[in-house]
Symmetry: C3
Subunit: 241 residues, 3 copies
């Protein structure tokens, strides 16, 4: 376990191992091929595999075990050039690609699969068993529950809320959790709400504040509560190729 | 005051007293009948009465005095088996039951009354003088203002916003704050908004994204902005007994 | 750089300089004309100019450099009597007036101009290049994006979301960012959403949960999704002079 307080601690990278000594300043350690830049008060639990050239802020936890697991029991992988900003918590069992970055105060629960070039904004929460593709942007204060699927190139604006339980606290609710699917290139406007199990089609645009209760066709623009199709993305000048 | 940095610190539990020594690892201390598991950087202010078998994460504050009060002036009680996850702040003057748990980065202001088996999700804010019954679940990113009443068994989904000021910044706004009441067993869908003073009836279901401007009858299902009754909970197969 | 861990650290105030020694308790330092009260684990980066009588909580960062800037490259000014509560992050290049206060876990990005007597609630995010007048109150969980303008005396309720990108991920989106303007004395109800570039008129009132897609006239009351004018503020008894 890497503890910033320990006199010597190791963080394993794919190419190298670093020893961190307790430091009064932000530390930057390099062995030629790779570097690690950190605050000086953070936690990296055992069995965390960090790619090269990572930056880790203060008061961050990486590799936190979920309930019933021991520290290090699940491996945590984060690719090259990760930037994990202050006050962020990432549980164990995640497999995260290269060029990952988080804002401040992000929470990522266990056992998600996250692609390359993904950016997760400040204060956003990603629950467990979520699949996120490449080049996905989650803005600030977003909530993504377990079993959601976010395909490549999709974009979720600030305070978007995705859900997965149509009948909370009903019988068998756990067996009936049904995450939303956001298809490739879809964009979800600020403070929109997606109901459980809805599919937002490829390149669709959900308006800010919309409440999406039914599937959205590929390339459709929907707005309102409940959300209704008002036009096509290809009719918007700014999205024309 | 228990400070994780102090060489020796005491936390009083109902059954026992623990001394905590500065530790480089998560510490688990037991005296046979009770245990305390902690991160190694947190604050417990004076006059905090923690039940047995508590778990306290890193960068947590418990017993923070509200404005105008001194540390320890108001007693803080938290029952047995509490789990307080990292980055959470709990003010003084709270009386909280057994089996309480918080997610990460939760804020609970002063002088609330909270029952047994309550779970408050990550990043949620509970203001002051709130009454929360037994077996209540607040999900992530919820906001509950002062003078709200949440009865037993109710459930608030992610990003639910409860309000209490109908006319912000009007004359006498402080005297006219009027919290919402969520009756026993009611369920509030994700990102719904409750206006000041509304009463959501027992076992009612408020749809995700709804804006509740009037009282909701017992057992009603409401959706939309403004929310309107669309059916009865007993008509939903999943809620039949 | 002031590091709470360093044996001696200085924080520059407009009237005085303090030395902070590592302390096991909250520290309060006074030189007669001014005082500084702090937790004992926080970061103040170089070139932060704090006014007199500041209070800084634990696990706070002030003066964090934005991408591409070095620590201290941009000056950070915060006026007299600031209260910065725990887990808050304030970037460099901000110019903030007197009597500023934040809740817990606030994020304020770089290069904003913020007036006197401004209060920013817990978990709220203010992005960069925002202009905020005097006597403005942002409640909890609010999101304010870059290029927004919040005039004197305006009020944003909990979970309000302001936006600035009408067509996210379109061509030239960065050049077309267009923040909202909230005019003097306007009040935005809880969980309302403002679309990019809208102007909310002076003293207008936006209802809780409203989705504001068009400009709101001075003194109008709007509700719904999309928001529509339902009455005038001067028709509301509580706002009569």
């Amino acid at each position: 376990m890497l503890e910033s307080k320990s006199k010597k601690a190791r963080v394993r990278s794919r190419n190298s191992k670093f020893k961190i000594r307790n430091s009064k300043r932000k530390s930057r350690i390099s062995n030629g091929s790779a570097s690690l830049t950190t605050g000086f008060e953070f936690r990296i639990r055992p069995n965390v595999n960090l790619g090269v050239d990572a930056v880790i802020g203060d008061w961050v936890i990486i590799g936190e075990p979920p309930r019933g697991k021991k520290p290090g029991e699940l491996e945590t992988q984060i690719g090259a050039r990760a930037v994990i900003r202050s006050h962020t918590v990432i549980y164990s069992g995640n497999v995260i690609g290269d060029d990952f970055q988080t804002g401040h105060g992000v929470l990522i629960r266990e056992e998600n699969r996250i692609g390359n070039h993904v950016s997760i904004g400040s204060h956003t929460i990603v629950e467990h068993h979520v699949v996120i593709g490449n080049n996905v942007r989650l803005h600030s204060n977003v909530f993504v529950p377990e079993f959601s699927v976010l395909e490549d190139d999709c974009w979720l604006g600030p305070n978007v809320v995705v859900t997965n339980a149509r009948y909370p606290r009903s019988r068998n609710v756990k067996e009936q959790l049904h995450g939303a699917t956001i298809k490739r290139g879809a964009k979800i406007g600020a403070n929109a709400t997606l109901l459980p199990g809805v599919v937002v089609g490829a390149n669709a645009l959900v308006g800010a504040g919309a409440v999406v209760t039914r599937d959205v066709p590929d390339g459709a623009v929907v707005v309102g509560n409940p959300a209704r199709v008002v036009k096509r993305v290809e009719d918007i000048e700014e999205y024309k190729q």
